[in-house]
Symmetry: C2
Subunit: 220 residues, 2 copies
């Protein structure tokens, strides 16, 4: 399988859209799909779809298009969703507690294996079955527990400092819930969850009179 | 300003991308931008950009492109981000508490004016300055407080039932944190926040060796 050194970021972002759309097609018993229809469902040209997928190999079949279950399997393998990821939650406040209790993460292959905080009042206490660990144990436990992902649920004011410690400890990616832009020195991957983006999107829909969800089947 | 009856969902979704990109350009003192460069930054063709924006009026200037501050102002007006929205949080669990305490919502023009729960143990108690109200007061308070948005932070099992009650009470949109697909009967707008999508995206980046954030300046 072709794996060039560097895949454009927009392509990486679209891969998850392709995967979601294909999973939806598979659920509705679609066996094949053309690049044109796959693109149309996502507001992209067929040329863009073919170019994006070509970074990873030759998946199309002449006269058939893409075979849906085959492409799903290959994308999942490329995207690492067929394996398990150990994660640590850093910051045991409201968002952190919600994350720890969130069963869906485990079903998706993400295991919260440690919870950290720097508040002496909660260190060593249990939250949803996890003993809260001191930040001073971070570097050691990231190594010992093979933690790949840090879920950052600390206040904005300390988010960068904690990010630097997570990177130094050896995580490969940071899921950021703090409403600040983190500098990860191009050393690790980072994805941010900003609730206000979703709320803004909802306000747009209301203003434009668009009912239902924008994530349902696309139209063009 | 031209306002057709029905704007395609992918266009609505892309409007927030345009707005974000333009705000970023304005921050970096860019005065004008071509549809080609605006599209390239977002992985879209210039034709797509022109087609999307044409739903709302003629914003381009021949030989100049789009004037950045002017287009920002017009998009904000179209998208309703120049006004205030009253919101209710339904479900005072961990996610609900995090939302109530989230200062950024207020800065973006969203005011949490009521908090609801059906647990007698917390009804009438205070959370971050809000008295928790009984679900039986929902319909009356949505009307009295002019609540336009319901933030749904209840367990998945009751999410649909609460959605139906919010719609009947007269909200215009629902921000859904429950990990289920809601049926809003095409009566209101709905946007969902699924933490596991962001985590999955992060795993993709790690698997593909893509560091930094996918939301930074695009490349194509």
């Amino acid at each position: 399988m072709a794996r060039p050194q560097r895949i454009p970021r927009p392509t990486v972002k679209r891969l998850s859209l392709y995967l979601r759309e294909l999973e939806d097609l598979a659920e509705h018993q679609h066996e094949t799909i053309s690049s044109k229809r796959l693109g149309a469902a996502l507001g992209l040209t067929d040329a863009q779809v073919r170019k994006d997928l070509a970074y990873f190999g030759q998946f199309g079949h002449p006269g058939v298009g893409y075979r849906v279950p085959e492409l799903i399997g290959q994308l999942r393998k490329i995207l690492g969703t067929d394996r398990n990821w150990n994660a640590a939650v850093v910051g045991a406040g409201n968002v952190g507690r919600a994350i720890i209790a969130y069963q869906r993460f485990r079903r998706k292959g993400f295991d919260v294996v440690a919870v950290f905080d720097d508040d002496p009042a909660i260190i060593d206490r249990e939250i949803a079955g996890h003993r809260v660990r001191s930040m001073s144990d971070l570097a050691r436990l990231v190594r010992e527990l093979d933690i790949k992902i840090g879920v950052l649920t600390v206040p904005a004011a300390v988010a960068q400092e904690v990010t630097d410690r997570l990177i130094a400890a050896g995580v490969r990616g940071i899921l950021n819930f703090a409403p600040v832009r983190l500098d990860v020195h191009d050393a690790v991957a980072v994805a941010s969850v900003d609730f206000s983006v979703a709320l803004e999107q909802l306000a747009f829909q209301i203003s434009l009179g668009v009912t239902g969800s924008l994530d349902e089947k696309g139209e063009e």
